[in-house]
């Protein structure tokens, strides 16, 4: 599991507004890639193009090439719903389905895609909850509502829900920004385990987090408000945080800018 993502000359629009311009990058399989950059630089918007969530927003569209192991995700014959089964996503705020129990939350992706086999569902739920380091905490109360968990547990529940459908890639949009340091640590540990099986892309505002969890880091920036965001530099995380090639990157990570 875990596939490579190739992006070439990607422009992302909201209606006529160009939000992200001219991104070309390769995301390695079974590794963690972090996106950093100031607010509004388009890193979340760009992340959402990797599983075609961007076009859910009215007026959202994309120009350019996004490939998953050589398959063009934006080819006209490709079903965006199928893309999202392959490329999962975890959001900034934990968002378990409020009408569902813990079990049902994790099983939701499979159930809503037509899996009815109870044994298979139960196995998938246990595997996913173990994979999200949540099993021991919730195994005795799987029928309790998912919204009753703590924020950090809810976020791990959402990760379990995302990996239950066995995606190839996991996109994480600031998954720890609403969590306390201990829950953040739990999620970071989890990310380090998950990267053995999945390709992980994480957007974060926390540069320590980027340096802790990621193998490669991409820095996004925008020239001015109202201008499109651009990829400034992408390199090994070690290099970005010790000896970046671009001046803007160095200014940003050392806090001299923005």
């Amino acid at each position: 599991m875990g596939k490579r993502i190739d992006v070439r000359d990607l422009n992302v629009y909201y209606g006529t507004f160009k939000a992200v311009e001219d991104v070309t990058m390769t995301i390695e399989p079974r590794s963690v890639t972090a996106f950093i950059g100031p607010s509004g630089c388009g890193k979340s918007t760009y992340l959402r193009t990797l599983n075609r969530m961007h076009e859910v927003v009215p007026g959202g569209r994309v120009e350019g090439y996004v490939g998953l192991d050589d398959q063009d995700l934006y080819a006209s014959s490709v079903d965006p719903v199928a893309v999202r089964r392959t490329v999962g996503m975890v959001f900034q705020r934990p968002n378990p389905f409020p009408t569902m129990s813990i079990f049902d939350n994790v099983a939701s992706g499979l159930r809503l895609n037509g899996v009815r086999n109870k044994k298979r569902l139960a196995e998938a739920v246990e595997t996913s909850l173990r994979g999200a380091n949540l099993w021991t905490e919730v195994k005795d109360r799987l029928d309790k509502p998912g919204a009753g968990l703590s924020g950090g547990q809810q976020q791990r529940l959402c990760i379990a829900r995302a990996i239950a459908v066995e995606p190839q890639v996991l996109l994480m949009d600031e998954p720890c920004s609403a969590l306390d340091p201990i829950s953040t640590l739990a999620i970071e540990d989890l990310i380090c385990q998950l990267k053995n099986r999945y390709t992980i892309v994480i957007v974060t505002h926390n540069m320590q987090q980027a340096s802790r969890v990621s193998d490669r880091t991409a820095f996004f920036n925008l020239a001015a408000t109202g201008k499109p965001g651009r990829l400034i530099e992408m390199d090994a995380t070690q290099k970005i945080f010790s000896n970046p090639s671009e001046r803007a990157t160095e200014d940003y990570i050392s806090g001299r800018f923005g």
Binding site: V56, P145, A147, C158
Partner: protein
């Protein structure tokens, strides 16, 4: 260990922290009195109506006959008989109204919130607004013109329901719309991100999350149309007998039963008017309570 002595209270308070001046206290008091007064004025008629209806109509309701018998063969002069025929008529017509209005209203709301973009959605929304403002007698006359004048059909129970549908659909659309808008967009996105198609997201995530609110809205709408009188006067002539056939013959309903004996001065008839009024109030109240109960038990689990 010795307890720490509390710090001494300073006697002079700096100007910024001083208690409000006399003028502000008076304004505060005046506003409080005004708000309370408005509340009392709003509640007085409500309590008054309830009290009047209860005191004048309650005795007949304790009679088993009231709930089991019709008014067949009973003149204004005679005591006895019940409201079974009218209660049945009201419930049957309301049920048919709901059966037609709920799917139309809920689906329209889903269209407006989840799919509607651009000109068509704006047109639909505008039409719903207009429909909301239509007086019930206009809706009734419209159905009369269609049902009786154009198609030459009889005035039967179901024609009343059609007129009520016109009044209920906009209520259902608006309340369902509000409830769907309350469902956080994050839940829809979470579902899309699992590779769930849009229609399944709506049917399995959005609707269950908004379910209790939708049910409450529907029941409140239903309670409203159950008391509508104009469509009954035009399309549903009163009958003293039990009629369960919505497609043949006249069908009684509580508002027309009230209207029937309204002008009578004879004591038995007057008592029946009040009792029928109380029955209608109780029926509407029961629906409201049912709405709350459903909302309570199926509400989003916390």
């Amino acid at each position: 260990m010795t307890a720490l002595a509390p710090p001494e209270r300073p006697t002079v308070v700096p100007a910024g922290l001083a208690k409000p001046s006399g003028r502000r206290s008076v304004t505060n008091l005046a506003a409080t009195v005004l708000v309370t007064l408005a509340f009392v004025i709003a509640v007085v008629p409500l309590v008054w109506i309830l009290w009047t209806v209860l005191s004048k109509g309650l005795t007949l309701l304790f009679d088993q006959q009231w709930w089991l018998n019709s008014q067949r063969g009973i003149t204004s002069r005679r005591e006895g008989g019940g409201a079974y025929h009218a209660i049945l008529g009201t419930l049957l017509q309301a049920a048919v109204t709901a059966l037609i209005s709920v799917p139309i209203g809920v689906l329209t709301a889903i269209y407006l919130v989840e799919y509607g973009r651009g000109r068509l959605a704006r047109a639909v929304s505008f039409m719903v607004d207009i429909l909301t403002g239509i007086p019930s007698i206009v809706a009734a006359l419209f159905i009369y013109a269609l049902w009786v004048t154009t198609f030459g059909l009889d005035r039967v129970g179901v024609s009343v329901s059609f007129a009520l549908v016109l009044l209920m659909v906009p209520v259902v659309v608006r309340s369902t719309e509000e409830m769907l808008k309350l469902v956080p967009n994050e839940l829809r996105e979470a579902s899309y991100a699992l590779g769930v198609p849009k229609w399944r997201t709506i049917s399995s995530i959005v609707l269950p999350t908004a379910f209790s609110g939708i049910v409450t809205g529907v029941l409140l709408g239903l309670a409203r149309v159950m008391g509508e009188t104009a469509p009954l006067l035009i399309l549903g002539p009163y009958s003293k007998s039990i009629n369960t056939d919505l497609f043949h013959g006249f069908m009684a309903a509580l508002p027309t039963m009230i209207n029937q004996d309204r002008t009578e001065a004879l004591q038995p008839a007057v008592e029946r008017v009040w009792a029928a009024a109380l029955t209608l109030v109780l029926l509407v109240m029961a629906l409201n309570i049912l709405g709350r109960v459903v909302a309570h038990f199926s509400s989003v689990r916390k």
